[in-house]
Amino acid sequence: MTGIYFDNNATTRVDPAVVEAMLPYFTEQFGNPSSMHSFGNKVGLAIKKARMQVQELLGAEHDSEIIFTSCGTESDSTAILSALKAQPERKEIITTTVEHPAILTLCAWLEKDGYKVHYLKVDGKGRLDLDEYKKLLGDQTAVVSVMWANNETGTFFPVVEMAELANAAGAMFHTDAVQAVGKVPLNLKDTKIDMLSVSGHKLHAPKGVGVLYLKRGVRFRPLLRGGHQERGRRAGTENTTSIVGLGKAAEMAMEAMAFENTEVARLRDKLEAGILAKVPRSFVTGNPDDRLPNTSNIAFEFIEGEAILLLLNKFGIAASSGSACTSGSLEPSHVMRAMGIPYTAAHGTVRFSLSRYSTEAEVDRVIAVVPEIIAQLRKLSPYWDGDGPAAEPEKAFAPTYA
């Protein structure tokens, strides 16, 4: 592997041990787990094992609570559409302004069908107001969907507590936990969380496999209907190789849980402190006191994120940005806007997300390179003047149609 990959919230490298576990299921063990013969039976057993490995990682009470899907987005759509279908008398959804598009785009579409969607606001550090939440919960609430950890800032939401409140109001609770699973110890059997989404490729399993955790007894209406796979809750022939891979990755994530929360967190903290110490007018977004151990989101004022990424890439460093340009949209990241980060900083946010494969040498290299890049771009910026921002930057440069 060449280059420094600090974009693990986007996707992760499949662990070689995961690949090794998967390989026999392409060729020798190619059977359909639904078949009666031994070709199929052995594959069926491998899926059973994977299910138990995922059960262990999630702290689920029963292995039958694990439904394999094709991705996190499918799990999210299945969960929310099921909750609406199963409770047709309830017409409201509660979610947050900072969810992943997998939730927000679906909710926007459901609004056209007459559902009422409440979007919980966040404060400057990306935290929710639980009093606002309590007021919105009611007998019209079909489902609450709140992410466990934000993909851009890593900030946690108090989903365990929020699930208790939803449960008391008779509403279902779903959480998109794709960033948290594998980095946060989970014990779902002791929570009131009804549904939870997992994405394999965020925890060193391949792309194209996910999980929907569905608590036993929660009313469910499948998205895909057809064969009896996944006990009729997700029809379609199983992605056997990837399921086996996800099982192995779940097992490895259990083993690495402490490491992620100590060593990876230490490296992340070092990276962040190193950059902030050397780069003026930069700050951490989100809530640094309560977030994923691997994520640091830093706003560099008065410059634009895509330009930063292109220069980082030239140095072989991979990260991502909340700028409008990196998405081809006209607005910077909805997460940054929801936190009230000004445009001149929101466009210059860069997310560094580490993994257990990140090294001290890589962190040192990034700390050495970033200040140069930022200084180089600020030299081009109309908001910048010599060694610091222009006096009263908003007045120094106020372009037409801004």
Partner: protein
């Protein structure tokens, strides 16, 4: 990651004429901080001759915004103001060997900064008529505001109409859902509801032209753009006319050029204006037509 040309990358990594220009006597500040792209263009103009002696820029923006700014300063140095004002946004994009459709607005911004800086030098007020919406059609780089305005101005009520008037939706068709949403919204303003399957507006009849006159007219339009194409080492040939569809062959440097779609879009627009009817221009290889017809 964006598919930037080597020229864009080069101008981004080694921008020309960046930073404050001492003694500038024409300055244009344009762009939108909410969109994340803004530019200050500084000109030093010789009053006696109106020649741009030097041009610098400062840009808050992405790779292609910085590259477009850099390209612009190179293109206008040494020109008189009137010559410089002839530089179009397409010229800036061409100079950079093309920009991705999502990034064409960077070249528009460059062109506007130039207008603003010249106006500033001449002591005039410059106001932009620029309004940009979310990109809807990626094939032809058409944004929501353009589609909305066109629907309003022409009372359009079908996706086909929108394609006929703006070209949006005429390519891969992935944006048809988005176009329908805009139709729903704009038609509601005039008290109508959008109905899928509504036939498109009756297309304007060819103004009493015979087939021969029509084809001659088409040839004349192609003749008028030919010098421009030849300048870039390319050419265009009329292959066939089948009702509203005009088949052409792009040859030389035009064949497979990144800007082919935009070039054809411009030619199509010219043809529509001349013929006063909706036509579609379809690029195809010489010889392909006779083969295709065997399968009809």
């Amino acid at each position: 990651m964006w598919d930037y040309s080597d020229k864009v990358k080069e101008h981004f990594f080694q921008p020309r004429n960046a930073g404050v220009l001492e003694g500038a006597n024409g300055v244009g500040d344009v762009g939108s901080i909410s969109c994340g792209d803004a530019l200050r263009l500084m000109l030093k103009v010789e009053p006696e001759t109106d020649i741009i002696l030097d041009a610098h820029f400062q840009t808050f923006g992405c790779g292609s915004a910085i590259a477009s700014s850099s390209a612009l300063t190179e293109m206008i140095k040494g020109k008189t103001l009137d010559e410089a004002l002839k530089v179009s946004n397409q010229d800036i994009a061409d100079y950079l060997d093309g920009l991705p459709p999502e990034k064409m607005h960077c070249s528009v911004m460059g062109r506007e900064a130039l207008q603003a800086a010249v106006a500033n030098y001449r002591g005039e007020e410059w106001s932009d008529d620029h309004e940009e919406g979310a990109l809807v059609c990626k094939c032809f780089a058409i944004d929501a505001v353009m589609i909305e305005d066109t629907i309003r101005a022409n009372d359009l009520s079908s996706v086909q109409d929108v394609t006929n008037y703006t070209k949006a939706g005429g390519g891969c068709s992935s944006c048809h859902e988005g176009i329908e949403e805009i139709l729903v919204k704009v038609m509601a303003e005039r008290g109508e509801s959008f109905k899928p399957g509504t036939p498109s507006k009756e297309e304007a009849k060819p103004a009493g032209m015979t087939n021969l006159q029509r084809i001659r007219k088409i040839e004349a339009v192609l003749e008028s753009v030919r010098p421009q194409l030849k300048r870039d080492g390319g050419d265009i040939e009329l292959l066939d006319v089948d009702g509203k569809t005009i088949y052409v062959s792009m040859t030389g440097a035009c064949a497979g050029c990144q800007m082919e779609a935009l070039t054809l879009q411009g030619i199509q627009q010219k043809l529509m204006e001349e013929l006063k009817e909706f036509i579609k221009i379809v690029p195809t290889k010489a010889g392909a037509l006779s083969r295709a017809s065997c399968h009809v």
